[in-house]
Symmetry: C2
Subunit: 143 residues, 2 copies
DNA sequence: TGTGTATAGATGCATTTACATCTATACACA
DNA sequence: TGTGTATAGATGTAAATGCATCTATACACA
């Protein structure tokens, strides 16, 4: 019923390490004049989806977006020209999203900053290096 | 420089699992008419600090709060009577926060819901159970 | 075909958040 | 003592978020 000491510690570490790293990355991106991580997530999923694109509700589930927030973020992204929307033939309610060439450029630009930050922040946490100490690594990360 | 495949997967898993679990817990708390996790965090830290209390800037660092957000959340919490503030003798700029008896009651009430949810959501992730698969457990958690 | 229910997505509104800035006190040091 | 800088905390403002609700289409089924 109630969590063990270990479970609680892991949950706290999960929380704090994610929050801490997320803020560092978002702050650096912003300081470089680049869009934030939520934009990156969308751009990346759309780039992976290639020509077939994705529906908003698919993105919503993959990325754990609040529906209304995604809706508005997409409006902004379309406004900036990094995403383009198309009518979806088989369902009059829906639409399909695809990344534009501009969007791909922006994503690559972001990755130049984002990628190294992941490496730097997650580094020794990687299972290969430290299979038995992921949890303690998470915990030490927040210190 | 750039992250390995494993590092990236771990970062994505860290993100999504934290977001997913956090939302589940916050949603259940709200549905029970209880305050959210940010309140819990403050109440818990103040309860741990006991009679000596904590300064806002200490909470800010421990819990990775934005200074202005913490300031306003504290105002609300003081308004609700779960936290009380005292002048800090040795520094005219500062103040000290202590949890009230009401606050302790609220925290215990929250823990009845929160505790089991941690156990349920983090469960098999615990190092004791699965020392070598924390990362893959994180990854599977988000599926 | 008609009716009820489910799903996709947009939008109004209140709350929360981030960011910049402001005030006041502390502290270092000439 | 006086001056410059750092730190604690509050607040104005714009943007983002969560929630409820709305519209429109789809789908099941009588």
């Amino acid at each position: 019923m109630y969590p063990t000491e270990e479970e609680t510690k892991l949950w706290v570490a999960l929380n704090l390490s994610q929050t801490k790293i997320y803020r560092i990355i978002d702050t650096v991106l912003k300081s470089e004049g680049l869009p934030n991580l939520r934009w990156y997530d969308v751009l990346w999923e759309l780039e992976r989806a290639q020509e077939s694109g994705l529906r908003p509700f698919e993105l919503e589930r993959i990325l754990i977006f609040e529906q209304s927030n995604l809706s508005r973020q997409l409006r902004r992204m379309i406004g900036e020209g990094v995403v383009k929307e198309f009518a979806f033939e088989n369902d009059g309610r829906g639409k399909v999203l695809k990344i534009t060439e501009d969007g791909q450029r922006v994503r690559k630009q972001m990755w130049k900053v984002y990628g190294p930050l992941i490496h730097q922040q997650i580094g020794d946490l990687s299972p290969q290096h430290n299979p038995e100490t992921i949890a303690s690594a998470l915990i030490s990360l927040i210190k």
